[in-house]
């Protein structure tokens, strides 16, 4: 096979860390090469070095056997390297074609020559076998379509090497399949694809070879055919990983929580939750799956009390709590917010101060109008110890802790008053494998202790792994309900994208 990129001894220092440590890697022409690793393993840094956004402190890059100096994305593009970022770089009010030609416009005098661009683009689109309206505005496109526009942008600029940074993070399962079919066609046309991910199933599905990174080092590069999920996970983490959580069967318990026909008006004035009903019993985890933005966030906010209900009822242990304020409701359940930086923590407060956020008015932390800091510190130390939070001190701002340790503080705080019900929204978002394992085990432990857990997640693996019952939310409604054993990822995908819908939701209220 013909080599197209060769990295030799790439090293990049950031203040405090070695982001890339002597990384050497060869990528062949026409292959789909996956790069996997935990957050902070150095995948993105390496890609940014290839794309000219960072300059390596040591090491060399060879393209087609020739040593090159890539000092800027402009130079990278001239070598045929293009990158699709996690966050799209598109201008929403512009049309597809305007977005694509932006920066490399063909001009007729002072007016733009769209005809020529259109011809080129139609050729590319036909060869890849998908459809897109070049004169549609980008703001009207789905996420999957917008991603295709990004890919077209690179192909229009004659990119031969495409770097995709976690391209599937924002896609529904069906959209992922479509993306993969495009990538396979590109690969068969001789384009080289570098695919960054930490979803092992996808990597095994799409790639020819996989490189695993850990703590800035390249651990190994293996042929996809000759490896499996467990081996990859082990290389990523550096130890054995249990991807399945042990869960004993449990008998149906008493009902803990119930919502009845709740309607919520979103911040833009439209109904975003439309008649949702479900209940949760002792000793079970109810998972709500769905592509983000289908009303899950608003559903949780309404349950917590951050958004008013337009209609409907919320019951905790058969008691109507619909009209109670946030502070009263907080006594009934713990809440892990989907965005811990926005809702769950005050980043400039100390670790200890964050350990009482929302509990600070409890009698056990106060003396009259004063906060009793000796009790607060004791409480914080208990959480740090119990959940093995890594922090040099409980008095430093929580901003300095890693995401996993921050989330442990949120969890520890929310469970510190032993609630019977926990709401966990995207509880492992942005966490590495180790921390994710920890959180998953904790949720299952709660369930096994007979507590109720509401799990909202965009990660289907998480939902399928942990939930006893699964609901799918689409466009503000529950469109599907399943017991864990009767559904798989693919089937859920049909419901998440609105392709299928159940008329009778037999698993929502039991």
């Amino acid at each position: 096979m013909e080599e197209i990129i060769r990295l030799e001894g790439i090293t990049k220092y950031f203040p405090g860390v070695v982001a890339n440590d002597n990384v050497s890697l060869t990528i062949y022409k026409g292959e789909i090469h996956a790069i996997v690793g935990e957050n902070g393993a150095g995948k993105s840094t390496l890609m940014k070095i290839i794309y000219g956004l960072y300059k390596p402190d040591k090491g060399e890059i060879y393209i087609n056997g020739k040593k090159v100096n890539i000092n800027s994305p402009k130079i990278a593009i001239s070598y045929g390297i293009g990158m699709v970022h996690q966050h799209f770089m598109l201008i929403p009010p512009f049309t597809v074609i305007e977005n694509i030609i932006l920066g490399s416009e063909v001009k007729n005098g002072i007016s733009l020559n769209f005809k020529k661009a259109e011809e080129t683009l139609n050729d590319i689109i036909n060869s890849l076998g998908f459809k897109i309206d070049l004169y549609e505005k980008v703001e009207n496109l789905s996420v999957g379509e917008a991603q295709r526009v990004e890919i077209l942008k690179l192909l229009y600029r004659r990119a031969e090497i495409l770097i995709l940074d976690e391209p599937t993070a924002v896609l529904a399962p069906q959209e992922v399949e479509e993306l993969f079919s495009i990538l396979r066609k590109l690969s068969s046309q001789g384009k080289t694809i570098i695919f960054i991910s930490h979803k092992l199933n996808e990597v095994l599905n799409i790639s020819d070879r996989v490189s695993v990174m850990r703590r800035g080092k390249l651990v190994n590069t293996v042929n996809t055919k000759e490896t499996n999920k467990f081996e990859l996970a082990q290389m990523m983490v550096g130890r054995e990983v249990f991807l399945k959580v042990d869960k004993a069967k449990r008998e149906k318990g008493e009902e803990i929580f119930r919502v009845e026909d709740i309607w919520v008006r979103g911040r833009k004035g439209l109904d975003v939750v439309k008649g949702v009903s479900f209940n949760i019993r002792e000793g079970e985890i109810l998972g709500i799956a769905g592509v983000e933005g289908n009303g899950q966030s608003e559903l949780i906010e309404a349950i917590v009390g951050l958004l008013p209900l337009k209609k409907g009822k919320i019951l905790f242990k058969n008691k109507d709590i619909t009209l109670e304020r946030i502070r009263q409701r907080r006594l009934y359940f713990g809440h892990i917010p989907e965005d811990r930086h926005k809702r769950g923590l005050i980043l400039d407060f100390s670790v200890a101060e964050n350990c009482i956020l929302g509990l600070h008015y409890f009698d056990r932390f106060s003396k009259g109008i004063f906060i009793d800091y000796s009790k607060v510190y004791k409480h914080a130390n208990e959480i740090v110890e119990k959940y093995q939070v890594k922090t040099p001190s409980i008095k430093i701002p929580i901003r300095n802790l890693s995401g996993g340790n921050q989330q442990k503080i949120v969890l520890g705080r929310e469970l510190s008053f032993s609630p019977d019900f926990l709401i966990a929204a995207q509880p492992t978002r942005g966490l590495d494998i180790g921390a994710t394992e920890f959180v998953h085990q904790l949720l299952v432990d709660l369930r096994n202790q007979g507590k109720a857990v509401l799990l909202v997640s965009a990660d289907l693996d998480e939902i399928l792994n942990l939930s006893d019952r699964i609901l799918v939310m689409y466009n503000g409604e529950i469109v599907g309900s399943f017991s864990q054993s009767e559904v798989d990822e693919k089937e859920l995908g049909y419901y998440m994208t609105g392709v299928k819908k159940q008329t009778e939701l037999k698993e929502a209220l039991i």
């Binding site: 203040p15 405090g16 304020r325 926005k342 005050i346 980043l347 929302g358 008015y361 906060i371």
Partner: protein
């Protein structure tokens, strides 16, 4: 480890402002030189005037008193995420109400209550003037910056109208736009006897008074309020992250209201140094932008009560030096204001630069 942190803090909090002051004096010196004066001689004279004798110290402390209270007022707002630009109006209203309470309400009560009444009404007046923007912000979401600026103008015009037309001093041939003199039971005594007792010979004419003691008490009060109470926890939480505060069950609207009222009350108290401790009456527009200087004092003091003491001292000394320069040199008044601004800017910028430098070094060392 502990040791190096201590040294870095020392550099940051003491040495950096000192370096900044020297840089500022250097720039100021250039300006003075360009105006045809000898910078060295000018500085010597001016600094000696402000800091070289007990009378100067007394004046510096007198100036500092008002700056501490105004700075605290603004800082409390900042801690709760509110920009109270309205301290100026709150000071004027607080001052007038305090004087009126001393003239018309206090006499109803026994004399030992007169002073508490004037003090309480000064805070009350400031709080009343903050209440309107507070309620507009908390209930209707109208931004407090716009509200408080507008309330400044209304406060300025209203107090001017009242003191010119309704409560103007009586029994003199040419009455100034000021109220009658307050009874001596309703005002703050001077501090010179205390200073003289401990061997600091501040003359009787010096205006430094018990408002200084109240200001220091308020520094302590503010520290305890913000860092030791449940209310303070909620104020700081709100100031740093409104979404997380909401999620924590903090009643955001109430805390906005309460924060603004405390801030306004503190601004009202900033009037007592002049009204109750110096003139013993309300003089129209006596504050001369004190509320705005309070913003600078709070920012320079990093919104921390202890920091505010030091920044207020700096502003207090600069004000005294400005008078010295006016008296001893022919440098125009406007240039003195320019010099003051240059010094403040240099300190603010210098401090920022140094903080960044230290942070970078810290990162590099841990790398």
């Amino acid at each position: 480890m502990k040791n190096r942190e201590f040294i870095e803090n020392l550099i940051l909090n003491i040495i950096s402002p000192l370096i900044s002051i020297f840089i500022a004096l250097f720039f100021g010196g250039i300006i003075i030189y360009l105006l045809g004066h000898n910078p060295w001689e000018t500085y010597k004279e001016v600094i000696n005037f402000a800091l070289g004798n007990p009378n100067g110290w007394g004046y510096v402390l007198f100036n500092t008193t008002s700056f501490i209270l105004a700075g605290l007022a603004v800082a409390i707002g900042f801690k709760g995420g509110l920009f109270n630009i309205g301290a100026e109006g709150q000071i004027l209203v607080g001052g007038l109400i305090s004087a009126l309470a001393g003239l018309y309400i206090a006499p109803i009560f026994p004399s030992f209550l007169h002073l508490p009444i004037t003090l309480i009404f000064s805070a009350l007046g400031g709080a009343i003037w903050a209440f309107i923007p507070a309620i507009l912000r908390a209930r209707l979401g109208v931004h407090e910056v716009i509200n408080t600026i507008m309330m400044n103008w209304i406060g300025y015009a209203l107090t001017n109208y009242l003191v010119v037309n309704t409560f103007r001093e009586r029994g003199v041939l040419y009455p100034l736009p000021q109220t009658d003199k307050l009874p001596s039971s309703a005002v703050l005594p001077k501090l010179y006897p205390i200073f003289q007792k401990i061997g600091i010979n501040i003359p009787e004419s010096n205006p430094v008074n018990y408002a200084l003691v109240i200001a220091i008490l308020m520094v302590i009060f503010t520290y305890y309020l913000l860092w030791k109470t449940k209310l303070g926890y909620e104020i700081r939480a709100l100031g740093l992250n409104i979404h997380a505060s909401e999620n924590a069950g903090i009643n955001v609207k109430n805390i906005i209201l309460i924060t603004m009222l405390i801030s306004g009350a503190m601004a009202g108290l900033a009037s007592i140094n002049d009204v109750l401790g110096y003139r013993y009456r309300y003089l129209d527009n006596f504050s001369h932008g004190l509320g705005f200087t309070g913003i600078a004092v709070a920012l320079l003091g990093k919104n921390h009560p202890i920091g505010i003491i030091f920044s207020a001292l700096l502003f207090g000394a600069l004000d005294r030096m400005a008078i010295g320069m006016d008296v001893f040199t022919h440098i125009p008044r406007e240039i003195i204001s320019v010099l003051q601004a240059v010094i403040i800017l240099t300190i603010v910028v210098g401090n920022e630069v140094l903080i960044r430098f230290l942070k970078k070094r810290r990162k590099a060392i841990y790398a």
